[in-house]
Symmetry: C2
Subunit: 395 residues, 2 copies
Amino acid sequence: MTISYQFMTDHLATEQITAEPVTAEPGAAPGPAPLPPGLLARLPTPCLLVDLAAADRNIAAAARLVRGTGVRLRPHFKAHKCTELMRRQLRAEGCHGVTCQTAGEAVALAAAGFTDILVANEVVDQAGLDELGRAAQTARITAAADCLEHVRRLDRAAGAAGTTFDVLVELDVGAGRCGLPAGRPDLVPLAAAIAGAGALRLAGLQAYGGHVQHSPGLQLRRTLCYHAELQVAAELERLAGAGLSCPVVSGHGTGTLECLAPGTLYTEAQAGSYVLLDAAYQRVTRAFEPALYCVTTVISRPEPARAVLDAGLKALAVDDGLPVPAGPGLRVVRLSDEHASLAVAPGADPAVGDKVLLIPSHVDPTVNLHDALFVYDGQALQRWPVDGRRVTALP
Amino acid sequence: MTISYQFMTDHLATEQITAEPVTAEPGAAPGPAPLPPGLLARLPTPCLLVDLAAADRNIAAAARLVRGTGVRLRPHFKAHKCTELMRRQLRAEGCHGVTCQTAGEAVALAAAGFTDILVANEVVDQAGLDELGRAAQTARITAAADCLEHVRRLDRAAGAAGTTFDVLVELDVGAGRCGLPAGRPDLVPLAAAIAGAGALRLAGLQAYGGHVQHSPGLQLRRTLCYHAELQVAAELERLAGAGLSCPVVSGHGTGTLECLAPGTLYTEAQAGSYVLLDAAYQRVTRAFEPALYCVTTVISRPEPARAVLDAGLKALAVDDGLPVPAGPGLRVVRLSDEHASLAVAPGADPAVGDKVLLIPSHVDPTVNLHDALFVYDGQALQRWPVDGRRVTALP
């Protein structure tokens, strides 16, 4: 069996690789749909507000990006952990199945009726393995593995639950996290062990380029995706040589949906952030628009050049930088537990009690801080629970 | 009326202000009490584990630090939002009442039976004001204010709930967040407005030195506390001159309990982190010891020098740096949503499935990520809900 690399060289040849300028400023977002008079003022702050029309435009944009590439979208639940929003995403053209990152998320998805769930991660602790078994009672469960210990544990858990798990061998295509780096001698024995395990099925490869997603410049991301394709192609050839078939190749994210092209070896894309977006992705792609805002209240104006909001580290993640005010004249300079400290430009004069909308810097850990999303569709306000948040029990 | 500054000059004169070396490495913590064989392995990871004996030693240490100073401890709920743990803290000598940071926390505390609650913050949004009114049905509620708009809103909310709120005027003693900076002409009119409001009572001042808490070196913290005392003294004099009495002066935190001395103008300390501590406080004080660990599982060993754990940004806050492994040979180099990437020193060889305990860098936003604390007292494991986490409802 041979695998053609032709598409990749064709694909890259069409465009010159240049130092494309990075979008330093967030794009000119239309801002959230105006809420009916008084409704914004009555929101309990801090809270998350979804502009549903913008989210729908993002869902449509993602469908356009995968169209014709042979890649199906398997949206990633970890971005928002809200089953109601995920249900809306799955209605789009080109979607099949859902991705999640933890066994607990798989349980929440299965309980909400999802039937094709990829846990794009290695699950090792016994509580998590038990959860996979529970989720598999009503859903097809696929999980990842990068060593024989994973195979032993997954096989035992599936067997104990009287079910079968699909398994993807995880490759490290440059992110430096889990997965086998290129050319490792243990790849083929590992895949063979999965194929030979009584309660497992070798479904294919996971090759997620986490390092690519926020790389500035579409051409840089295309080049890095090309490198990943080369590695995937080489590993598929090794596996095919050993008679091991890999129908699934899963990877990609919000930052690389624009890099997909016909002929790719990938069969599915695990993008998650695209539906709500965040300020970090706004800096690297204009394919999507912000659909998520943290609504805050001005609680103090101690001096003309300073304001303080009622949203801090417990409402907004800061691992990817500070949140960005949706309007002009304000800049977040610091977050503490329950406060955002703002610099106020001359001319801006937010009053105590005013609402300020912030675009979160990183959607996933921000939504994880909230129990619900407030969703406005232009007519009514709904509250959608973030029902995939972690729930623990005594062992 | 005159206020003596003598204690402060006396206090400072006894010690030379030198560049005390900062504790760069976390102290030699005894580590968590060993769990019974098999119990650690069965914990659902990632989860938070409290070493209750260590927490009890911290509670006793805080009681010793306030003893004889005339300052009473009003422990801060925001550090962990767990009413069960707060109940234990309040049993200690020198404690009276509880501090929290949000109206939602006040509701949780009142529901759990706490009857003297300081919301050490400005509450402005209507949902929050309604919550204060609800909490005040069973508890004495004190809130902070730094402008007339706060007075109007608090007075209206207390009146609507058929109750009275105590109010502290917030001073900014250097933290640069909420509160009136030194010498502001609006201080006296503001205090007078509170005293004159129908449903409010002027209780005193809040003067929390947030900027002092993590300042390296006890002498530096003592100097900064002295500056705050001078400002408080001057403002108390101005208020006394206008016939406005301030029985309460509230402030201080875990980093400045060691700075308390007889004669201070402060009457209560709002420390919170001391009971569980964290790696950031470990760098600046040895008055307390770590009592909180994030229990994780090794999920991948892709290369000898690297390991990956199943705890990431959704289990550990990173605003104050990366978490610190409790044992030798491992270093956290990066967190992603659900992973911690570790550097593994030669000689260390954690296996897939092993448990690794991490000391969180910042306790407050870390506990806020979890639904419960697993608490081990040397004999039994309990699960204490983090029942003060935010709960939202449609307006």
